[in-house]
Amino acid sequence: MTSAFVPANYDLPRSVRLSALGIAALALVLFPVVFPNPAVTSVGVFAMIYLLSVSGWNIFSGYSGYIALGHAVFFGIGQYSSALLTSHFNVPPGWDSFALLPVAAALAGIAAVPIGFILLRVRKHTFIVLTIAVMFIFQLLAFNLRSWTGGSQGLQMPFPTWTGDFFNQPFYYVGLGASAIAIAVSWWVRRSKFGLGLLAIRDDEDRARSLGIHTTRTKLIAFVLSAVFVGAAGAIYAPFVGSVFPQFAFDPSFDLALAVMAFTGGLGTLVGPAVGALVIGSVQQYFLLQFGGANTFLIVYGLLFVLILRLLPDGVVPSIALQWRHWVARRERARAHSDLSPPPDLETRIEVPVEQGRSAQ
Protein backbone atom coordinates (compact mmCIF):
# COMPACT_ATOMS: atom_id res chain seq x y z
CA MET A 1 0.00 0.00 0.00
CA THR A 2 1.43 3.38 -0.97
CA SER A 3 0.64 6.25 1.32
CA ALA A 4 -0.54 9.44 -0.32
CA PHE A 5 1.91 12.29 0.07
CA VAL A 6 1.16 14.58 2.98
CA PRO A 7 3.37 17.52 4.00
CA ALA A 8 5.47 16.59 7.02
CA ASN A 9 4.89 19.67 9.13
CA TYR A 10 1.55 18.44 10.49
CA ASP A 11 2.96 16.28 13.29
CA LEU A 12 1.09 15.78 16.53
CA PRO A 13 1.90 18.81 18.73
CA ARG A 14 4.78 18.27 21.15
CA SER A 15 2.57 19.05 24.16
CA VAL A 16 0.07 16.37 23.10
CA ARG A 17 2.84 13.82 22.59
CA LEU A 18 4.42 14.56 25.98
CA SER A 19 1.03 14.40 27.70
CA ALA A 20 0.26 11.04 26.08
CA LEU A 21 3.67 9.75 27.16
CA GLY A 22 3.11 10.97 30.73
CA ILE A 23 -0.32 9.34 30.94
CA ALA A 24 1.04 6.07 29.54
CA ALA A 25 3.94 6.11 32.02
CA LEU A 26 1.61 6.83 34.93
CA ALA A 27 -0.75 4.04 33.85
CA LEU A 28 2.15 1.58 33.69
CA VAL A 29 3.43 2.62 37.14
CA LEU A 30 -0.03 2.33 38.71
CA PHE A 31 -1.02 -0.87 36.94
CA PRO A 32 -0.02 -3.35 39.71
CA VAL A 33 -1.58 -1.06 42.34
CA VAL A 34 -4.90 -0.86 40.51
CA PHE A 35 -4.88 -4.53 39.48
CA PRO A 36 -3.08 -6.36 42.32
CA ASN A 37 -4.45 -9.80 41.40
CA PRO A 38 -1.31 -12.01 40.91
CA ALA A 39 -2.77 -13.55 37.73
CA VAL A 40 -3.03 -10.06 36.24
CA THR A 41 0.35 -8.78 37.48
CA SER A 42 1.93 -11.95 36.11
CA VAL A 43 0.65 -10.93 32.66
CA GLY A 44 2.15 -7.49 33.39
CA VAL A 45 5.60 -8.99 34.13
CA PHE A 46 5.61 -10.83 30.79
CA ALA A 47 4.49 -7.66 29.04
CA MET A 48 7.42 -5.79 30.66
CA ILE A 49 9.88 -8.50 29.58
CA TYR A 50 8.61 -8.19 26.01
CA LEU A 51 8.61 -4.39 26.23
CA LEU A 52 12.27 -4.42 27.27
CA SER A 53 13.24 -6.98 24.64
CA VAL A 54 11.44 -5.39 21.71
CA SER A 55 12.67 -1.89 22.61
CA GLY A 56 16.23 -3.24 22.53
CA TRP A 57 15.62 -5.27 19.37
CA ASN A 58 14.21 -2.20 17.64
CA ILE A 59 17.44 -0.22 18.21
CA PHE A 60 19.14 -2.60 15.82
CA SER A 61 16.51 -4.17 13.57
CA GLY A 62 14.08 -1.28 13.52
CA TYR A 63 16.58 1.44 12.74
CA SER A 64 19.01 -0.48 10.51
CA GLY A 65 16.40 -2.58 8.69
CA TYR A 66 18.34 -5.81 9.38
CA ILE A 67 15.62 -8.13 10.66
CA ALA A 68 17.31 -10.31 13.28
CA LEU A 69 15.45 -13.51 14.13
CA GLY A 70 18.10 -14.83 16.48
CA HIS A 71 18.01 -12.46 19.43
CA ALA A 72 16.81 -15.38 21.55
CA VAL A 73 20.55 -16.07 21.75
CA PHE A 74 20.94 -13.02 23.98
CA PHE A 75 17.73 -13.74 25.85
CA GLY A 76 19.14 -17.20 26.61
CA ILE A 77 22.59 -15.86 27.53
CA GLY A 78 20.88 -13.45 29.94
CA GLN A 79 18.96 -16.34 31.51
CA TYR A 80 21.90 -18.71 31.82
CA SER A 81 24.16 -15.92 33.09
CA SER A 82 21.64 -15.07 35.79
CA ALA A 83 21.21 -18.71 36.83
CA LEU A 84 24.91 -19.58 36.78
CA LEU A 85 26.01 -16.41 38.59
CA THR A 86 23.30 -16.89 41.24
CA SER A 87 24.51 -20.42 41.85
CA HIS A 88 28.24 -19.62 41.62
CA PHE A 89 28.20 -16.65 43.97
CA ASN A 90 25.41 -18.01 46.20
CA VAL A 91 23.33 -14.93 45.58
CA PRO A 92 20.26 -15.09 47.82
CA PRO A 93 16.94 -15.00 45.92
CA GLY A 94 15.02 -11.75 46.02
CA TRP A 95 16.29 -8.22 45.68
CA ASP A 96 19.95 -9.28 45.57
CA SER A 97 19.37 -11.28 42.38
CA PHE A 98 18.49 -8.07 40.56
CA ALA A 99 22.08 -6.90 41.14
CA LEU A 100 23.11 -9.53 38.57
CA LEU A 101 20.99 -7.89 35.91
CA PRO A 102 23.67 -5.46 34.62
CA VAL A 103 26.27 -8.27 34.66
CA ALA A 104 24.04 -10.62 32.64
CA ALA A 105 23.21 -7.78 30.23
CA ALA A 106 26.91 -6.98 29.81
CA LEU A 107 27.72 -10.65 29.13
CA ALA A 108 25.03 -10.73 26.42
CA GLY A 109 26.58 -7.58 24.95
CA ILE A 110 30.06 -9.11 24.99
CA ALA A 111 28.76 -12.25 23.27
CA ALA A 112 27.14 -10.04 20.63
CA VAL A 113 30.50 -8.64 19.50
CA PRO A 114 31.88 -11.76 17.74
CA ILE A 115 28.39 -12.93 16.69
CA GLY A 116 27.61 -9.55 15.15
CA PHE A 117 31.03 -9.30 13.58
CA ILE A 118 30.36 -12.52 11.67
CA LEU A 119 26.64 -12.08 10.93
CA LEU A 120 26.87 -8.47 9.79
CA ARG A 121 29.08 -9.42 6.87
CA VAL A 122 25.93 -10.53 5.04
CA ARG A 123 22.68 -8.77 4.27
CA LYS A 124 18.95 -9.21 3.77
CA HIS A 125 17.62 -12.79 3.59
CA THR A 126 21.03 -14.33 4.20
CA PHE A 127 21.34 -12.33 7.39
CA ILE A 128 17.91 -13.45 8.60
CA VAL A 129 18.66 -17.12 7.89
CA LEU A 130 22.05 -16.92 9.60
CA THR A 131 20.58 -15.32 12.74
CA ILE A 132 18.12 -18.23 13.01
CA ALA A 133 20.97 -20.70 12.46
CA VAL A 134 23.07 -19.12 15.21
CA MET A 135 20.10 -19.31 17.58
CA PHE A 136 19.77 -23.07 16.97
CA ILE A 137 23.54 -23.51 17.41
CA PHE A 138 23.24 -21.95 20.86
CA GLN A 139 20.23 -24.12 21.67
CA LEU A 140 22.25 -27.21 20.72
CA LEU A 141 25.18 -26.01 22.81
CA ALA A 142 22.86 -25.51 25.79
CA PHE A 143 21.54 -29.06 25.37
CA ASN A 144 25.04 -30.52 25.12
CA LEU A 145 27.22 -28.50 27.51
CA ARG A 146 25.66 -30.36 30.42
CA SER A 147 28.28 -29.48 33.02
CA TRP A 148 27.40 -25.81 32.60
CA THR A 149 23.78 -25.76 31.53
CA GLY A 150 22.43 -28.99 33.00
CA GLY A 151 21.49 -30.09 29.48
CA SER A 152 17.84 -30.96 29.00
CA GLN A 153 17.42 -31.08 32.81
CA GLY A 154 18.00 -27.33 32.82
CA LEU A 155 18.99 -25.19 35.79
CA GLN A 156 16.76 -24.45 38.76
CA MET A 157 16.83 -21.14 40.57
CA PRO A 158 15.65 -20.51 44.12
CA PHE A 159 12.44 -18.48 44.44
CA PRO A 160 12.35 -15.34 46.59
CA THR A 161 10.45 -15.77 49.83
CA TRP A 162 8.00 -12.99 49.02
CA THR A 163 4.29 -13.47 49.57
CA GLY A 164 2.16 -14.52 46.62
CA ASP A 165 0.39 -11.16 46.44
CA PHE A 166 3.69 -9.28 46.29
CA PHE A 167 5.83 -11.74 44.31
CA ASN A 168 5.24 -10.31 40.81
CA GLN A 169 5.58 -6.67 41.70
CA PRO A 170 9.40 -6.38 42.06
CA PHE A 171 9.84 -8.16 38.71
CA TYR A 172 7.25 -5.86 37.15
CA TYR A 173 8.90 -2.67 38.38
CA VAL A 174 12.44 -3.81 37.55
CA GLY A 175 11.18 -4.70 34.06
CA LEU A 176 9.46 -1.34 33.76
CA GLY A 177 12.61 0.54 34.90
CA ALA A 178 14.84 -1.37 32.49
CA SER A 179 12.31 -0.78 29.69
CA ALA A 180 12.32 2.94 30.44
CA ILE A 181 16.13 2.93 30.08
CA ALA A 182 15.88 0.96 26.81
CA ILE A 183 13.29 3.37 25.39
CA ALA A 184 15.39 6.35 26.53
CA VAL A 185 18.46 4.89 24.80
CA SER A 186 16.37 4.18 21.70
CA TRP A 187 15.15 7.81 21.73
CA TRP A 188 18.70 9.05 22.11
CA VAL A 189 19.94 6.86 19.27
CA ARG A 190 17.10 8.04 17.01
CA ARG A 191 18.06 11.69 17.56
CA SER A 192 21.82 11.15 17.25
CA LYS A 193 24.11 11.32 14.24
CA PHE A 194 24.84 7.64 14.91
CA GLY A 195 21.11 6.85 14.63
CA LEU A 196 20.84 8.85 11.43
CA GLY A 197 23.61 6.63 10.06
CA LEU A 198 21.56 3.53 10.99
CA LEU A 199 18.49 4.91 9.21
CA ALA A 200 20.61 5.72 6.16
CA ILE A 201 21.88 2.12 6.18
CA ARG A 202 18.26 0.95 6.25
CA ASP A 203 17.47 2.97 3.11
CA ASP A 204 20.67 2.36 1.08
CA GLU A 205 23.67 0.85 2.81
CA ASP A 206 26.12 1.29 -0.08
CA ARG A 207 25.14 4.92 -0.50
CA ALA A 208 25.54 5.49 3.25
CA ARG A 209 29.01 3.98 3.04
CA SER A 210 29.94 6.20 0.13
CA LEU A 211 29.01 9.21 2.27
CA GLY A 212 31.57 8.35 4.90
CA ILE A 213 29.47 6.27 7.32
CA HIS A 214 31.38 3.36 8.85
CA THR A 215 28.56 0.95 8.16
CA THR A 216 30.08 -2.15 9.79
CA ARG A 217 30.96 -0.31 12.99
CA THR A 218 27.59 1.46 13.13
CA LYS A 219 25.66 -1.78 12.69
CA LEU A 220 27.83 -3.63 15.21
CA ILE A 221 27.36 -0.99 17.92
CA ALA A 222 23.58 -1.10 17.41
CA PHE A 223 23.64 -4.91 17.43
CA VAL A 224 25.53 -4.96 20.74
CA LEU A 225 23.24 -2.32 22.29
CA SER A 226 20.17 -4.34 21.34
CA ALA A 227 21.75 -7.53 22.72
CA VAL A 228 22.38 -5.82 26.07
CA PHE A 229 18.70 -5.05 26.56
CA VAL A 230 17.49 -8.44 25.35
CA GLY A 231 20.05 -10.06 27.70
CA ALA A 232 18.71 -7.94 30.57
CA ALA A 233 15.20 -9.21 29.75
CA GLY A 234 16.51 -12.77 30.03
CA ALA A 235 18.03 -11.96 33.43
CA ILE A 236 14.60 -10.83 34.67
CA TYR A 237 12.78 -13.76 33.12
CA ALA A 238 14.96 -16.54 34.62
CA PRO A 239 14.51 -15.73 38.35
CA PHE A 240 10.82 -14.97 37.69
CA VAL A 241 10.05 -18.44 36.32
CA GLY A 242 12.72 -20.11 38.53
CA SER A 243 14.26 -22.33 35.88
CA VAL A 244 16.21 -22.24 32.63
CA PHE A 245 15.76 -24.87 29.90
CA PRO A 246 17.52 -24.84 26.49
CA GLN A 247 14.32 -25.00 24.45
CA PHE A 248 12.79 -22.05 26.31
CA ALA A 249 15.98 -20.00 26.68
CA PHE A 250 16.79 -20.23 22.95
CA ASP A 251 13.23 -20.29 21.67
CA PRO A 252 12.47 -19.40 18.01
CA SER A 253 8.95 -18.24 18.94
CA PHE A 254 10.57 -15.53 21.10
CA ASP A 255 12.09 -13.95 17.98
CA LEU A 256 8.85 -14.36 16.09
CA ALA A 257 7.10 -12.55 18.94
CA LEU A 258 9.56 -9.64 18.83
CA ALA A 259 9.16 -9.28 15.06
CA VAL A 260 5.34 -9.43 15.22
CA MET A 261 5.25 -6.88 18.05
CA ALA A 262 7.57 -4.46 16.26
CA PHE A 263 5.85 -4.79 12.87
CA THR A 264 2.41 -4.44 14.44
CA GLY A 265 3.28 -1.32 16.40
CA GLY A 266 5.52 0.25 13.77
CA LEU A 267 9.01 -1.02 12.97
CA GLY A 268 11.74 1.57 13.42
CA THR A 269 9.56 4.00 15.35
CA LEU A 270 10.15 4.83 19.00
CA VAL A 271 6.68 4.14 20.36
CA GLY A 272 5.36 1.55 17.90
CA PRO A 273 7.28 -1.52 19.13
CA ALA A 274 6.45 -0.61 22.75
CA VAL A 275 2.73 -0.46 21.92
CA GLY A 276 3.05 -3.76 20.06
CA ALA A 277 4.80 -5.40 23.04
CA LEU A 278 2.26 -4.20 25.58
CA VAL A 279 -0.75 -5.27 23.52
CA ILE A 280 0.51 -8.51 21.98
CA GLY A 281 2.56 -9.56 25.03
CA SER A 282 -0.56 -9.26 27.18
CA VAL A 283 -2.82 -11.00 24.65
CA GLN A 284 -0.31 -13.84 24.36
CA GLN A 285 -0.32 -14.37 28.12
CA TYR A 286 -4.11 -14.24 28.11
CA PHE A 287 -4.19 -17.03 25.52
CA LEU A 288 -1.71 -19.06 27.55
CA LEU A 289 -3.83 -18.67 30.68
CA GLN A 290 -7.05 -19.51 28.84
CA PHE A 291 -5.85 -22.36 26.63
CA GLY A 292 -2.77 -23.64 28.46
CA GLY A 293 0.55 -24.38 26.80
CA ALA A 294 -0.95 -25.44 23.45
CA ASN A 295 0.77 -22.52 21.70
CA THR A 296 -2.59 -21.34 20.35
CA PHE A 297 -1.13 -17.85 20.31
CA LEU A 298 1.17 -18.87 17.44
CA ILE A 299 -1.91 -19.16 15.20
CA VAL A 300 -2.95 -15.69 16.33
CA TYR A 301 0.61 -14.43 15.63
CA GLY A 302 0.45 -15.79 12.09
CA LEU A 303 -2.98 -14.31 11.37
CA LEU A 304 -2.04 -10.98 12.92
CA PHE A 305 1.20 -10.81 10.96
CA VAL A 306 -0.60 -11.42 7.65
CA LEU A 307 -3.31 -8.87 8.49
CA ILE A 308 -0.83 -6.20 9.55
CA LEU A 309 1.38 -6.66 6.49
CA ARG A 310 -1.72 -6.58 4.28
CA LEU A 311 -3.65 -3.70 5.84
CA LEU A 312 -1.13 -1.60 7.76
CA PRO A 313 2.34 -2.37 6.38
CA ASP A 314 3.83 0.58 8.25
CA GLY A 315 2.35 -0.61 11.57
CA VAL A 316 -0.42 0.75 13.74
CA VAL A 317 1.32 3.81 15.22
CA PRO A 318 2.70 5.23 11.93
CA SER A 319 -0.69 4.60 10.26
CA ILE A 320 -2.50 6.55 12.99
CA ALA A 321 0.11 9.32 12.71
CA LEU A 322 -0.43 9.44 8.95
CA GLN A 323 -4.21 9.65 9.40
CA TRP A 324 -3.67 12.51 11.84
CA ARG A 325 -1.52 14.36 9.32
CA HIS A 326 -4.13 13.79 6.58
CA TRP A 327 -6.81 15.20 8.89
CA VAL A 328 -4.74 18.31 9.79
CA ALA A 329 -3.82 18.84 6.13
CA ARG A 330 -7.52 18.69 5.12
CA ARG A 331 -8.42 21.10 7.92
CA GLU A 332 -5.67 23.52 6.83
CA ARG A 333 -6.84 23.38 3.21
CA ALA A 334 -10.45 24.01 4.27
CA ARG A 335 -9.34 26.99 6.39
CA ALA A 336 -7.26 28.42 3.53
CA HIS A 337 -10.26 27.99 1.19
CA SER A 338 -12.62 29.82 3.58
CA ASP A 339 -10.08 32.66 3.93
CA LEU A 340 -10.13 33.14 0.16
CA SER A 341 -13.95 33.37 -0.12
CA PRO A 342 -15.18 36.99 -0.29
CA PRO A 343 -16.67 38.66 2.80
CA PRO A 344 -20.52 38.77 2.95
CA ASP A 345 -20.83 42.51 2.27
CA LEU A 346 -18.67 42.18 -0.85
CA GLU A 347 -20.90 39.34 -2.05
CA THR A 348 -23.96 41.63 -1.84
CA ARG A 349 -22.17 44.40 -3.70
CA ILE A 350 -21.14 42.25 -6.64
CA GLU A 351 -24.41 40.30 -6.76
CA VAL A 352 -25.82 40.30 -10.28
CA PRO A 353 -29.54 39.57 -10.78
CA VAL A 354 -29.95 36.26 -12.55
CA GLU A 355 -32.22 37.60 -15.29
CA GLN A 356 -29.91 40.56 -15.95
CA GLY A 357 -26.92 38.29 -16.16
CA ARG A 358 -28.67 36.02 -18.69
CA SER A 359 -29.80 38.91 -20.88
CA ALA A 360 -26.27 40.28 -20.92
CA GLN A 361 -25.03 37.04 -22.50
Binding site: K193, D203, D204, D206, R207, S210, T215
Partner: protein
Protein backbone atom coordinates in the same frame (compact mmCIF):
# COMPACT_ATOMS: atom_id res chain seq x y z
CA UNK B 1 48.05 21.22 -11.80
CA UNK B 2 46.67 17.68 -11.72
CA UNK B 3 44.39 16.94 -8.76
CA UNK B 4 43.15 13.49 -9.67
CA UNK B 5 44.91 11.05 -11.96
CA UNK B 6 44.20 7.53 -13.12
CA UNK B 7 47.14 5.54 -14.45
CA UNK B 8 46.84 2.44 -16.64
CA UNK B 9 43.56 1.35 -15.02
CA UNK B 10 42.16 -1.96 -16.23
CA UNK B 11 38.99 -3.66 -15.10
CA UNK B 12 37.15 -6.65 -16.52
CA UNK B 13 33.94 -8.45 -15.60
CA UNK B 14 34.30 -12.01 -16.77
CA UNK B 15 34.81 -11.74 -20.52
CA UNK B 16 33.94 -8.04 -20.72
CA UNK B 17 36.88 -5.66 -20.57
CA UNK B 18 35.33 -2.45 -19.18
CA UNK B 19 38.60 -0.50 -18.78
CA UNK B 20 41.79 -1.11 -20.78
CA UNK B 21 44.85 0.67 -19.45
CA UNK B 22 42.96 3.93 -19.02
CA UNK B 23 45.14 6.93 -18.18
CA UNK B 24 43.71 10.40 -17.51
CA UNK B 25 44.52 13.57 -15.61
CA UNK B 26 41.95 15.93 -14.16
CA UNK B 27 43.08 19.47 -13.48
CA UNK B 28 42.53 21.12 -10.10
CA UNK B 29 39.90 23.86 -10.04
CA UNK B 30 38.54 22.93 -13.48
CA UNK B 31 35.19 21.63 -14.65
CA UNK B 32 36.24 18.46 -16.44
CA UNK B 33 33.86 16.71 -18.80
CA UNK B 34 34.08 12.96 -19.35
CA UNK B 35 32.24 11.83 -22.44
CA UNK B 36 32.07 8.74 -24.60
CA UNK B 37 29.55 6.39 -26.18
CA UNK B 38 27.47 4.03 -24.03
CA UNK B 39 29.61 1.20 -22.69
CA UNK B 40 32.86 3.11 -23.08
CA UNK B 41 33.66 2.67 -19.36
CA UNK B 42 32.84 6.10 -17.87
CA UNK B 43 30.75 4.86 -14.95
CA UNK B 44 33.19 2.00 -14.30
CA UNK B 45 35.97 4.57 -14.09
CA UNK B 46 33.88 6.54 -11.56
CA UNK B 47 33.34 3.32 -9.58
CA UNK B 48 37.08 2.67 -9.52
CA UNK B 49 37.94 6.24 -8.49
CA UNK B 50 35.36 6.23 -5.66
CA UNK B 51 36.34 2.82 -4.28
CA UNK B 52 33.22 0.93 -5.36
CA UNK B 53 35.29 -1.29 -7.63
CA UNK B 54 38.85 -2.54 -7.30
CA UNK B 55 40.80 -2.27 -10.57
CA UNK B 56 42.59 -5.34 -11.90
CA UNK B 57 45.61 -3.13 -12.61
CA UNK B 58 46.65 0.51 -12.42
CA UNK B 59 46.51 3.29 -9.85
CA UNK B 60 44.25 6.12 -8.73
CA UNK B 61 46.12 9.12 -7.39
CA UNK B 62 44.58 12.03 -5.48
CA UNK B 63 47.09 14.86 -5.07
CA UNK B 64 49.76 12.26 -5.70
CA UNK B 65 48.50 9.95 -2.95
CA UNK B 66 47.62 6.39 -3.96
CA UNK B 67 43.87 5.81 -3.38
CA UNK B 68 43.54 2.63 -5.43
CA UNK B 69 42.65 0.38 -2.49
CA UNK B 70 40.65 2.97 -0.54
CA UNK B 71 37.07 2.10 0.49
CA UNK B 72 34.18 4.40 -0.55
CA UNK B 73 33.99 6.00 2.90
CA UNK B 74 37.74 6.66 2.87
CA UNK B 75 37.52 8.19 -0.61
CA UNK B 76 34.66 10.41 0.55
CA UNK B 77 36.64 11.33 3.67
CA UNK B 78 39.54 12.34 1.41
CA UNK B 79 37.30 14.90 -0.27
CA UNK B 80 35.88 13.08 -3.29
CA UNK B 81 32.07 13.26 -3.48
CA UNK B 82 29.98 11.51 -6.08
CA UNK B 83 26.45 11.45 -7.49
CA UNK B 84 24.98 8.51 -9.38
CA UNK B 85 23.47 8.04 -12.83
CA UNK B 86 20.20 7.02 -11.17
CA UNK B 87 19.75 9.11 -8.03
CA UNK B 88 20.57 7.37 -4.78
CA UNK B 89 19.01 9.24 -1.91
CA UNK B 90 17.53 7.96 1.35
CA UNK B 91 13.82 7.98 0.48
CA UNK B 92 12.38 7.45 3.97
CA UNK B 93 14.48 10.18 5.58
CA UNK B 94 13.49 13.81 5.35
CA UNK B 95 15.27 16.07 2.87
CA UNK B 96 17.19 17.74 5.73
CA UNK B 97 18.14 14.38 7.26
CA UNK B 98 19.49 13.30 3.85
CA UNK B 99 21.83 16.26 3.80
CA UNK B 100 22.93 15.58 7.38
CA UNK B 101 23.89 11.98 6.60
CA UNK B 102 26.83 13.28 4.57
CA UNK B 103 28.03 15.73 7.22
CA UNK B 104 31.21 14.30 8.72
CA UNK B 105 31.77 13.82 12.46
CA UNK B 106 34.73 12.17 14.10
CA UNK B 107 34.64 10.23 17.39
CA UNK B 108 32.00 8.19 19.20
CA UNK B 109 30.91 11.00 21.55
CA UNK B 110 30.33 13.34 18.61
CA UNK B 111 28.39 10.59 16.85
CA UNK B 112 26.08 10.20 19.84
CA UNK B 113 25.20 13.89 19.90
CA UNK B 114 21.99 15.08 18.31
CA UNK B 115 22.27 15.24 14.52
CA UNK B 116 20.91 18.78 14.33
CA UNK B 117 23.63 20.27 16.55
CA UNK B 118 26.87 21.96 15.59
CA UNK B 119 28.05 23.98 12.63
CA UNK B 120 27.07 21.23 10.26
CA UNK B 121 23.39 22.04 10.78
CA UNK B 122 23.91 25.51 9.41
CA UNK B 123 25.97 24.04 6.58
CA UNK B 124 23.14 21.61 5.81
CA UNK B 125 20.60 24.44 5.74
CA UNK B 126 22.95 26.50 3.55
CA UNK B 127 23.35 23.57 1.15
CA UNK B 128 19.59 23.19 0.84
CA UNK B 129 19.21 26.89 0.24
CA UNK B 130 21.98 26.75 -2.35
CA UNK B 131 20.06 24.19 -4.41
CA UNK B 132 16.68 25.77 -3.66
CA UNK B 133 15.14 22.97 -1.59
CA UNK B 134 14.78 24.75 1.76
CA UNK B 135 10.98 24.78 1.58
CA UNK B 136 11.00 20.97 1.29
CA UNK B 137 13.43 20.37 4.18
CA UNK B 138 10.97 18.38 6.31
CA UNK B 139 9.40 16.36 3.52
CA UNK B 140 10.31 12.72 2.92
CA UNK B 141 13.01 12.68 0.25
CA UNK B 142 11.16 9.91 -1.60
CA UNK B 143 8.35 12.35 -2.38
CA UNK B 144 10.63 14.68 -4.41
CA UNK B 145 10.56 14.74 -8.21
CA UNK B 146 13.48 13.16 -10.05
CA UNK B 147 15.03 16.54 -10.80
CA UNK B 148 14.70 17.62 -7.18
CA UNK B 149 16.33 14.36 -6.10
CA UNK B 150 19.30 15.22 -8.36
CA UNK B 151 19.57 18.57 -6.60
CA UNK B 152 19.27 16.89 -3.20
CA UNK B 153 22.08 14.50 -4.08
CA UNK B 154 24.14 17.49 -5.11
CA UNK B 155 23.33 19.22 -1.79
CA UNK B 156 24.31 16.31 0.38
CA UNK B 157 27.63 15.91 -1.39
CA UNK B 158 28.18 19.64 -0.99
CA UNK B 159 27.67 19.63 2.78
CA UNK B 160 30.84 17.60 3.24
CA UNK B 161 32.76 20.33 1.40
CA UNK B 162 34.55 17.99 -1.02
CA UNK B 163 37.43 19.20 -3.13
CA UNK B 164 36.30 17.07 -6.10
CA UNK B 165 32.74 16.28 -7.17
CA UNK B 166 32.08 13.47 -9.61
CA UNK B 167 28.68 13.91 -11.25
CA UNK B 168 27.34 10.97 -13.23
CA UNK B 169 24.87 12.22 -15.86
CA UNK B 170 23.52 15.15 -13.84
CA UNK B 171 21.37 16.31 -16.77
CA UNK B 172 19.63 12.96 -17.31
CA UNK B 173 15.86 13.29 -16.79
CA UNK B 174 16.11 16.88 -15.54
CA UNK B 175 13.88 19.55 -17.08
CA UNK B 176 15.60 22.55 -18.77
CA UNK B 177 14.79 25.00 -15.95
CA UNK B 178 16.27 22.75 -13.26
CA UNK B 179 19.20 21.99 -15.54
CA UNK B 180 20.04 25.70 -15.88
CA UNK B 181 19.75 25.97 -12.09
CA UNK B 182 22.09 22.99 -11.65
CA UNK B 183 24.62 24.42 -14.13
CA UNK B 184 24.55 27.69 -12.23
CA UNK B 185 25.25 25.87 -8.95
CA UNK B 186 28.15 23.97 -10.51
CA UNK B 187 29.69 27.21 -11.78
CA UNK B 188 29.22 28.91 -8.39
CA UNK B 189 30.91 26.06 -6.54
CA UNK B 190 33.68 25.88 -9.10
CA UNK B 191 34.32 29.58 -8.53
CA UNK B 192 34.89 28.66 -4.87
CA UNK B 193 37.56 26.15 -5.91
CA UNK B 194 35.69 22.85 -6.20
CA UNK B 195 36.91 20.64 -9.04
CA UNK B 196 34.27 18.82 -11.09
CA UNK B 197 34.37 15.71 -13.23
CA UNK B 198 31.12 15.36 -15.11
CA UNK B 199 29.96 12.35 -17.10
CA UNK B 200 27.25 13.51 -19.46
CA UNK B 201 25.63 12.71 -22.82
CA UNK B 202 24.05 16.15 -23.22
CA UNK B 203 26.77 17.70 -25.42
CA UNK B 204 25.33 21.19 -25.20
CA UNK B 205 25.54 20.99 -21.41
CA UNK B 206 29.11 19.59 -21.47
CA UNK B 207 30.49 21.94 -24.10
CA UNK B 208 28.91 24.98 -22.48
CA UNK B 209 30.05 24.19 -18.97
CA UNK B 210 33.38 22.36 -19.09
CA UNK B 211 36.88 23.80 -19.28
CA UNK B 212 38.43 20.51 -20.31
CA UNK B 213 36.87 17.43 -21.92
CA UNK B 214 38.16 13.84 -21.93
CA UNK B 215 36.75 11.28 -24.33
CA UNK B 216 36.62 7.56 -23.57
CA UNK B 217 36.21 4.79 -26.11
CA UNK B 218 36.36 1.03 -25.53
CA UNK B 219 37.61 1.45 -21.97
CA UNK B 220 40.50 3.80 -22.61
CA UNK B 221 41.18 7.49 -23.14
CA UNK B 222 40.72 8.59 -26.73
CA UNK B 223 41.27 12.34 -26.53
CA UNK B 224 41.73 15.10 -23.97
CA UNK B 225 41.50 18.82 -24.67
CA UNK B 226 39.42 21.95 -24.72
CA UNK B 227 35.76 21.50 -25.74
CA UNK B 228 36.18 23.10 -29.19
CA UNK B 229 39.23 20.95 -29.99
CA UNK B 230 37.53 17.77 -28.89
CA UNK B 231 34.38 18.54 -30.85
CA UNK B 232 36.39 19.07 -34.01
CA UNK B 233 38.37 15.84 -33.71
CA UNK B 234 37.30 13.28 -36.39
CA UNK B 235 38.34 10.40 -34.14
CA UNK B 236 35.81 11.56 -31.54
CA UNK B 237 33.06 11.80 -34.14
CA UNK B 238 33.93 8.35 -35.35
CA UNK B 239 33.81 6.94 -31.84
CA UNK B 240 30.38 8.43 -31.28
CA UNK B 241 28.81 7.92 -34.70
CA UNK B 242 30.77 5.09 -36.31
CA UNK B 243 33.12 5.33 -39.32
CA UNK B 244 30.48 5.66 -42.06
CA UNK B 245 28.47 8.33 -40.32
CA UNK B 246 31.59 10.32 -39.38
CA UNK B 247 32.75 10.29 -43.02
CA UNK B 248 29.32 11.36 -44.23
CA UNK B 249 29.31 14.13 -41.67
Amino acid sequence: MTLLAVEEISKSYGGVQALRGCTMNFAEGAINGLIGPNGSGKTTLFNVITGYERPDAGRVLLRGKDMTQATPDAVFGAGVGRTFQLTRIFPRLSVLENVHVAAQRRGFVAQMRRWTTGNEHQRALDSLEFVGLTHLAREPAGSLSYGQQKLLEFAFIMVAAPSVMLLDEPAGGVNPTLLRHLAGRIKALNAEGVTFIIVEHDMEFVMGLCDQVSVMHNGSALREGRPAEVRADPAVLEAYLGTDMAEAD
